[in-house]
Amino acid sequence: MKLKKISFKGVTLFLIFTLIMVLALSGCSGSSQGSNSKTIKLGLLEDRSGDFSLVGIQKYHAAELAVDQINQQGGLLGKKVVLDAPDTQSNNSVYQQMAKKLILQDHVVAIMGAYSSASREAIRPIMDQNKMLYFYNNQYEGGVADNDTFLTGAVPEQQIVPLMKYMIKKFGPRVYTIAADYNFGQISAQWVQQSVKQDGGKLVGQEFIPLDVSQFSSTISRIKAAKPDVLVTLLIGQNQSAFYEQWAKQGDKSIPMASSVNLAQTYEQLRFAPPTMANMYVTTSFMQELDTKYPGAKTFVDAFYKKFPHDKYVGQEAEAEYSGIMLWAKAVQKAKTTDRDAVIKALESGISYNGPTGPVTIDPKTHHVIRNMFLVNTDSKQKIQIDAEYKAVKPDWLSTAKGVDLPKKPQSHQYTPLGN
């Protein structure tokens, strides 16, 4: 009887253990060969589970689409491009481990990806140490100047600066900012502050909210007491999204909201029932609603949904990921090699490609991109209206204000408007 019990347990354990072994081994061996003569291995780090999977999965799918299209057109240098894409699980520690793995074990030729600024900062030093070409394809708070890094998403001078100019001109000078209390929020708020000053407005309030706060009554009364003409919301994540519903009920919906992250990135206009997100103004490089007006956007969106019919949205970051890969591919073709130095040189030649919403061009000095920007707003039914279009907006703050010229002065640093 006793022996039976033990052996039953033994069998259970054996099964568990064999399971572990088999899975771990298959997990490891599946991706352990390096780039060989027939394929080019491209690393991709995106969050397909955890907090950031909402955007991470979009970006992962956009990358798959880009690689598919490149391979359909004969690949690069006569070779097929293969994505090597671990799941980073919205965990910065996993980002680091996987970045090292992609570089040291899988020998990828370049790495794309990362959503949050924290994830990017977790892996950027690893890229620098290992001289790995890295593309951060995401809208962000701006200021990164790094020889090995190319940033294809929109930056504050493309988003916040035109947005604030427009808002102050249209609605009035009094601006109130609420922002998530972490790097993206803090730095973006600095940009708002600076723009308000330049455009002759007045910052009547600024508040930073910890990421796990979801009750906003006191914030709302403070906003209402300050009587702003424009409310800038730079809120992030699950908990803070509760703000909009509370604002819609307790706040003053006649005050327009402005943001650089909502709508185009996390598609609140579809996820929230109207009129929660009504009367919001956003500057963006891309969103799927643009397909009604821009044929390039329509082609991209159609291709995306053809490949991933169950997906719910194609937003700004998916386009940035797609464009990042396309720009890299073009640079590889130009350099005729995947060698890092040659590809960087090709990229720094001011390489350009025709993206879903018009040309996307690398700015050699800053490694950011020159691209068309759009200012959109939501009506009471949360339908998107296009208010303004800005052609070929330059990401020139680093080069003009901070004197950054990466080909001439190599460095690796993140600048902030009020810091150094």
Binding site: D87, S93, T416
Partner: protein
């Protein structure tokens, strides 16, 4: 004490350390780097094994000391870069600071009669306080010396350890971590056979009774908790130097829970088991993550559930006992324990 008699454990420990010492000869540099990461995390599990497994103090707060170590090392060494010998000093001071912080917290709790699950709850709250606090330090107001705490993005570019002229990266770092681990493992083994070692087991088994053998129980608990804090801090520093990076996610709820889960599932009263399980877990979790499979977390979760249900004393410890029985025909205590569990279940 009793654990010292398990033959399999000693043989396995010897084999594993032997293997770890020679493996850089035949595995690639990435794997070496990777294993050194796993080994760095093993200190965190050791710290919990010491305080929970041996002394019965259940803590959710080892991540706090992990983070304190990492942040302290980062701030100190980044402020004094270029100063020679600053990195080993930073390591040493960081470990001491972690121990001190734990001692203060321990003093606050144990002398006030806080015990058992309440220690877990206090340390859980502390973890949350620190992660909330560190998360909002992105502003330029939060500089210590020249180093910005950096909010959620954390601190980057933390210098690697340097021992005189030798920079500890790659294989050097690996051997450095391995040697420390080996030394600490041996010290812990010796410690559990020492006077204090006997006392902490006595405290775990029966706190009130142990007082009546003249032991100042809160004092011993505080000291053991401090030792656990120092170990966790060491783990944090090694982690920070491994990735040159530390963030508030080191304090997050998930980071706080992982050591508890690892130690419980591996065998909480056994240092060897917790090292082995920690390395296996990280290796396995990384493999799943690298495979990009969306079932990774589901599989991991199921394994934790199954292990806890079927082998409550920890899977590695169970395997030790099983093998002891098979190969050394040693009567195992395990059997009785398990039967008692069955017993309780059958009634009622």
């Amino acid at each position: 004490m009793v654990q010292g008699k398990i033959k399999t454990e000693n043989i396995v420990a010897a084999l594993i350390f032997f293997f770890l010492f020679i493996c850089p000869l035949f595995i690639d540099s990435y794997s070496v780097l990777n294993i050194s990461y796993f080994l760095s995390m093993a200190f965190l599990s050791l710290s919990l094994t010491l305080i929970w497994g041996y002394c019965g103090i259940f803590s959710f707060g080892q991540a706090v000391f992990f983070g304190i170590g990492g942040y302290f090392y980062a701030v100190l060494t980044l402020n004094l870069t270029g100063t020679s010998a600053i990195t080993p000093l930073g390591l040493l001071l960081g470990v001491i600071l972690g121990g001190l912080a734990a001692w203060i917290l321990g003093y606050f709790m144990f002398y006030g009669g806080v015990n058992d699950v309440f220690v877990g709850l206090i340390t859980l709250c502390l973890t949350l306080v620190l992660s909330t606090f560190m998360g909002q330090t992105a502003g330029s107001a939060w500089n210590i010396g020249q180093v910005s705490l950096g909010g959620f993005n954390g601190i980057n570019g933390i210098p690697a350890l340097e021992l005189g002229p030798i920079s500890l990266s790659g294989n050097n770092f690996y051997y450095f971590v391995l040697i420390i681990l080996f030394v600490i493992y041996c010290l812990l083994k010796l410690f559990t056979h020492s006077k204090v070692g006997a006392a902490i087991v006595a405290i775990r088994e029966n706190r009130e009774r142990t007082k009546m053998f003249g032991y100042n129980v809160p004092k011993i608990q505080s000291l053991v908790f401090a030792a656990g804090g120092a170990l966790a801090s060491l783990s944090g520093i090694l982690y920070a130097t491994w990735g040159n990076y530390i963030t508030p996610s080191a304090f997050a709820l998930s980071s706080a829970t992982i050591p508890v889960v690892l130690v419980a599932a591996g065998g909480r009263k056994n240092f060897t088991a917790s090292i082995i399980f920690t390395v296996l877990y990280y290796w396995f979790a990384q493999g799943l993550s690298a495979s990009g499979s969306q079932y990774a977390l589901v599989i991991l979760g199921l394994i934790l559930i199954l292990v806890t249900l079927f082998v409550p004393d920890g899977i590695i410890v169970f395997l030790f006992h099983l093998s002891d029985r098979l190969f050394f025909h040693r009567e195992s205590k395990m059997k009785e324990v398990q039967e008692e569990h069955l017993h309780e279940k059958n009634i009622g």
